[in-house]
Symmetry: C2
Subunit: 318 residues, 2 copies
């Protein structure tokens, strides 16, 4: 028997697993593979690049007839881009990082479910106020941008705060044990990023995929350094978790010095232009320890669900 | 039926719950209450104050006939103090923070179980090398001193690394949902600190207990500032999670300035001497959200076990 939750019922999916809408990397091929595997594939619409969105929407339509959705970053996406996604009738639109207020009504009017990702309890209150149908509680373990709360204590706190709105857990979940943990913490499922980023369907350079697979324990850190180096306009409150690299080793704790060093910034841009793995951000969550191969995304969905059932069945039977 | 694990079998306890040996605060009354409730009470031997240890050992003997243990900080305790504890035949001795090598053999020779707490995978490898009978994987959510890995992804990574040595999960666990999560992540139980710190049996000023109970979400932070202010010799790699306070607001991100400001340090010492809650460290984990009353410790043990069983039984039944 599969794991049935409010999430699987609400989205008409088989398994309580959603693809994190990783900007750029979660394209149509990956979203469709997750949906075809029985989860909810979410396109990584990111800041709202129209050309990217058009192309990946086409691919998702070509490859799946199952429920799918799109994610955007609230601090940067334009309403017209969200509307363009809504025109294709996604089952859900997910908004992360920043104020989702400008988008809430348009999502509901289009008949899509509104998913809002939160990184602290104030954001969770705001998401409830915005009429979220589903709230993603993202822990600091997550790869890419995020906040400071850790998944294990944060998820039940959000569950209690926003009940009866269903919650997905995000951050640090890369295998079925993590999915099982999400469920017993009171979540209706898990939103998984890095594990899918390492799948062949993700839009990622092969060298970066291999770096994630090869990364050993304790290999990631949350930092603002790479956003400074990239001159990225991300709101300061959201730092980014990446694999450690030589550039981070050089500048850790010296963010102000980096900002004031035009030569270092120019050198960064040159190295980044040739995708030097010693400097570019490879977004990855803390659970890279648990990722040891580049598994096809559909297989990941099925494996996580099966492993979670095993983990749940095994407790107290020693 | 109770939750049976390798931990409950190894320690001959009823529930897969251990008291974090919080220095000073986890005295004989609290350790005995946890043991009498069916968990494993661990005295908080801290850096190894002999007078404190003698007094609290006497109390634990007076109040329980169940299995109990003692915890110490490896970076600071003397071997003779650990030997003093071993003379009273604890079921287990737990060593945290720093190199446990000087103590491993003496614990085993005395017939106690050796528990080693780790905060990253290198420490986990070292603990296995030291012959640990049980390894506590402590996440950054934990109150007091610790490291940077988060509990949810860290626990399964440690479980995989040190198998078949049993693992306890620590950090962020304050209710039965957290205990259930620990178990499905592959741990044999949970080590719980802050929830017990808020119990009436803990050696804590009533105002500090009430501050923990009253703390709302997102109320803690991990910092080095209060160790700098206290001129504490804690190894730099272990920062401390405390409730946020006015002093942290004042000095966050300005650690070097604080070190170089004798007036600010003198003012801190004066305020700390009168236990000003705006400056003193109130050690507390991220899960303070989930702690809303000062429950007797034995009741906490029973409640956590019952809640965990409910959480496990409820999954997939929506």
């Amino acid at each position: 028997v599969a794991l049935q939750t409010v999430f699987t019922a609400l989205l008409s999916v088989e398994h309580p697993i959603a693809l994190a809408p990783m900007g750029d990397a979660a394209g149509g091929a990956l979203a469709a593979a997750v949906s075809n595997g029985g989860g909810l594939g979410l396109l990584g619409g990111g800041r709202g690049d129209r050309e990217w969105l058009e192309r990946e929407l086409t691919i998702v339509h070509q490859r799946t007839n199952r429920p799918w959705g799109v994610g955007f970053q609230s601090w940067s996406v334009e309403r017209s881009v969200v509307q363009r996604a809504l025109d294709d009738l996604p089952s859900a639109v997910m908004l992360s990082f920043g104020d989702p207020t400008p988008f809430a009504d348009m999502v509901h009017r289009a008949g899509s479910l509104l998913i809002i990702q939160v990184t602290d309890l104030d954001e969770a209150r705001q998401a409830r106020h915005n009429g979220a149908d589903l709230i993603v509680a993202q822990g600091t373990e997550a790869g890419g941008h995020g906040g400071g709360r850790a998944t294990l204590p944060f998820v039940p706190a959000v569950v209690d705060l926003v009940a009866p709105i269903p919650v997905l857990a995000a951050g640090g979940i890369a295998d079925g044990r993590g999915l099982a943990a999400a469920l017993v913490l009171g979540a209706a499922g898990a939103l998984v990023g890095t594990r899918f980023l390492a799948s062949p369907e993700a839009l990622l350079a092969e060298a970066e995929r291999q770096a994630i697979v090869a990364a050993a324990g304790d290999a990631t850190e949350r930092n603002r350094i790479l956003d400074i180096a990239r001159d990225s306009p991300w709101p300061e409150r959201y730092t980014a978790r990446t694999l450690r690299n030589a550039f981070l080793d050089q500048w850790r704790g010296r963010e102000d010095d980096l900002r004031a060093d035009p030569e270092a910034l120019a050198a960064y841009r040159q190295a980044a232009a040739r995708r030097d793995l010693g400097v570019v951000p490879i977004w990855a969550g803390e659970a890279v320890d648990l990722i040891t191969e580049a598994t096809p995304a559909g297989d990941i969905v099925v494996a996580l669900a099966a492993e979670a059932e095993l983990a749940l069945a095994g407790v107290g039977r020693t």
